[in-house]
């Protein structure tokens, strides 16, 4: 881990007496599972972003909310930092443990408490897997819309903490659009309900504030999600283009035609070839870009929209447009996209997934910029793109066993994110800031804006015990980062060694 990711940049680490803490936990919550031996802690040293690892001071695995309550009170009294973790699939190091902190694993809370088909909601514990909710709702013809690629494994508590997205966001929204209510515990161990069973609730919209707050404001203990009726049919079109620009323009034309597809994904040539090689989805490997456009809804509407989109794509210069002939082919088309990350992973020992968002019109310029940076850093980049909502996932290929490559990949990734900010976008669309993008936050927000974020944090957790060092950088971190950045600006390459 390089110096800029070190928690010490944010100040000296707290001093926690581990033995005394274990003793106090055993005394006050005797039935709580506490892991404290090195070999038991090791499996928890990272989340889905395995490049960053820290062995936690302690891991606790509660099974009842009362245990979490007492744990938080204890940590609050003793000023011990707490990092919450769900399934550990996050891609930004949001659940990266702290050397002097407790890792609070909520994975054992996996009960679906209630499904109300008439009310169209499900009340679940935070450790319930995203996909499990849709499976439980399926007998009623309902489902939970947000579908992050990790939906088979990721848990709803983490989805709320990260405001998780997926491939259907443009039409169905992010996690924040699909929640009714969250029960949480404050760092002082008090129970708060945000939102309600109605569509709104009095006072400030704390549910919206809390969604995506990355475990900085409280611990999620229960989530009520909205359920939607399952669309009758879904059809997918696959269009090939001989240039990325044409594919990008086609996306704008689809929307200009008044159509909001259920999913609208773009892949560039490197990603296409990787996916085809891995999945044999039937992708055209010579295309510079493909678009996958899924239309869902009631049969007759979908049929009409398919015809419209077919025409738009053809007029936009697609070299070929194919509609999946049957459900098997539709799933195959999607399998290529959904497995793009591991497919790219086969091209290279390691890959690093970025998550910037941009206004769609900036796409050609940003892709050109990425290509230039890729050349400059000597690392290949494959591009996978939620084209409908402007969320890019450049995948940087590298080999961690080659000296300096991880650092180069990180530096390249950072530059890509700053490029996104420069065109009016954001450093993260759905993966979160976590520890990974903490330094790029200094590029997206000025010190006054960061100060306001810290003020929000102080309203809930003035001692900064919940997930410190994530999401919002300290001003001293930004000063360090800014100083290094200026240094970078002066020299074309040698600065990389400092990363």
């Amino acid at each position: 881990m390089n110096i800029l990711y070190d928690e010490r940049i944010d100040g000296a680490l707290p001093k926690v007496d581990k033995a005394a803490l274990v003793q106090a936990l055993n005394a006050r919550v005797p039935d709580l599972t506490v892991l404290h031996r090195a070999e038991d802690l090791r499996p928890y040293e990272c989340d889905g972003l395995s490049a960053y690892r820290t062995v936690p001071l302690l891991v606790v695995l509660p099974e009842r909310i009362e245990q979490v309550e007492v744990l938080l009170k204890l940590c609050h009294e003793r000023k011990v930092p707490v990092v919450a973790r769900g399934a550990g699939t996050g891609l930004s190091g949001g659940a990266l443990p702290l050397e002097q902190g407790v890792l609070l694993v909520m994975a054992r809370f996996k009960q679906i408490l209630e499904i109300d088909p008439a009310g169209r909601w499900a009340r679940v514990q935070p450790g319930v897997r995203n996909l499990a909710i849709s499976q439980a709702a399926a007998p009623y013809g309902l489902y939970y819309a947000p579908d992050p690629s990790s939906q088979i494994a990721c848990s709803i508590g983490g989805n709320v903490a990260e405001n998780a997205g997926g491939v259907h966001c443009l039409k169905y929204g992010l996690t924040v659009h699909n929640l009714l209510k969250v029960q949480m515990l404050t760092i002082e161990g008090e129970r708060l309900t945000l939102g309600s069973d109605a569509l709104d609730s009095p006072g400030f919209d704390l549910l919206a504030l809390f969604t995506g707050s990355e475990g900085m404001l409280g611990i999620i203990t229960e989530v009520t999600v909205k359920l939607l009726p399952k669309p009758q049919v879904a059809k997918v079109l696959l269009a090939s283009f001989d240039s990325v620009e044409k594919a990008g323009a086609a996306v704008a034309q689809i929307i200009a035609a008044g159509i909001i597809p259920g999913g609208l994904e773009m892949m560039d040539n490197l990603a296409i070839r990787a996916a085809e090689d891995f999945i044999h989805a039937g992708y055209p490997v010579d295309a510079e870009a493909i678009l996958l456009c899924e239309l869902d809804g009631v049969e007759s509407d979908v049929h009409d929209d398919c015809q419209r989109v077919y025409q738009v794509l053809t007029e936009a210069g697609a070299t070929e447009v194919r509609q999946a002939r049957d459900e098997a082919e539709r799933l195959r088309f999607w399998a290529g996209r959904k497995n793009a990350f591991p497919a790219v992973g086969r091209l290279s020992p390691d890959y690093y997934c970025m998550d910037g968002t941009i206004p769609r019109r900036a796409l050609p310029g940003v892709l050109k910029g990425i290509a230039e940076l890729s050349e400059q850093y000597g690392l290949r980049v494959a591009n996978v793109f939620h084209a409908g909502d402007g969320n890019m996932h450049p995948l940087i290929l590298f080999d961690a066993n080659q000296a300096g490559e991880l650092e180069r990949a990180e530096a390249l990734g950072g530059q890509i994110l700053e490029l996104c900010v420069a065109v009016g976008g954001s450093i993260t669309g759905e993966h979160g800031v976590g520890r990974e993008k903490i330094n790029q936050m200094c590029a997206q927000f000025n010190s006054d804006e960061l100060t306001l974020f810290h003020a929000v944090k102080a309203a809930f957790d003035p001692d900064r015990l919940l997930n410190p060092g994530k999401n919002i950088p300290t001003l001293q971190r930004c000063a360090e980062f800014g100083a290094m950045h200026i240094h970078h600006g002066q020299l074309p390459f040698p600065e990389l060694e400092r990363f």
């Binding site: 109300d116 009310g119 169209r120 013809g141 309902l142 990260e162 966001c169 443009l170 929204g173 924040v176 659009h177 129970r191 708060l192 309900t193 069973d197 109605a198 569509l199 709104d200 009095p202 006072g203 400030f204 919209d205 704390l206 919206a208 504030l209 995506g212 009726p229 669309p231 929307i255 200009a256 008044g258 159509i259 809804g297 009631v298 049969e299 007759s300 509407d301 929209d305 968002t357 206004p359 409908g388 909502d389 969320n391 009016g424 954001s426 450093i427 759905e430 979160g432 936050m441 927000f445 000025n446 006054d448 100060t451 306001l452 974020f453 003020a455 929000v456 102080a458 309203a459 919002i472």
Partner: protein, 353 residues
Amino acid sequence: MTERDFDASEQLLDQVRQALADDRPLCIQGSASKAFLGRPSAGERLDTRAHCGIVSYDPTELVITARAGTPLQTLRAAVEEAGQMLPFEPPAYGEQATLGGTIAAGLSGPRRPWAGSARDYALGTRVITGLGKHLRFGGEVMKNVAGYDLSRLLTGSFGALGVLTEVSLKVLPKPRACFSIKLSCDAERALLKLAEWGQQPMPISAACHSADFLYLRLESGEGSVAAAHERIGGEPIASAFWDDLNEHRLPFFAQPEPLWRLSLPNNTGILDLPGEQLIDWGGAQRWLKSSASAASIRQVVEAVGGHVTCYTAGITSEPFQPLPNLLLRYHRQLKTQLDPQGIFNPGRLYAQL
């Protein structure tokens, strides 16, 4: 763009800084079209209307950005011209309603249960804070999870946390087909039918029940709208009905009793309350014309998991549903952090804020 386009943010910032220096409260106001909502708030008027104009709008990006003083009408006309809409259908409650007031009040119209609320469409904001800074949060992109979601927190905060100066909203294409109908049906049966249809992929985008009629708006592609109409039947009505409902121009709203808004879980049955009721949002929002006391109405509504807002000024000292103590404490802490001198619309939401 109109000739009234003007960037008055410096003047607004100056006024806020002066108020901070003098430790004087400000009453943030656009056209005052929603002044009847909430508690009265004393303070020098900060008028946002000079800060006006659409800053950017590219229909294919599905985002419109405009200054807070921009009339809602101007915004609607611009998106309409491009065949798009503000899907949350904000009520204006007055010809001159501004974008800033619309977002600060966070109100949504008949399409809300199906399309989402004002805060769901808020992508970015610029805001003058209680530290006298003009800051930007969120932006013009659909997905953005960097930092806390201040834009959505500010939506519906009634100006208690800062002065909104600019807002970016997601917009959507208007549906290809739109058809409104009414059916003769009592309230009980209407709620049952709505619960049933809610579980099916029906193209319903508004559902209201009033005086033995169920009113529905069907919106989507031509095929599904025609199929739904065939299935449900009913008599065609003009789509202006929904504007009249949204703007409280239906005869129901002209009754002399105070007006109450009940926000309820969407499968709540008939509520037994004194006065007349109109069901909106497919059951999740009900309008009540009643002379009953706030406490008695709240008791019934709280019991089913809902909350109540009084829409007639001067009836109760707490027009918004009082918050549980702990939740109120965190509201106060947030207010203190973001507006330490308490100059923005003090007391408008709650006496303690």
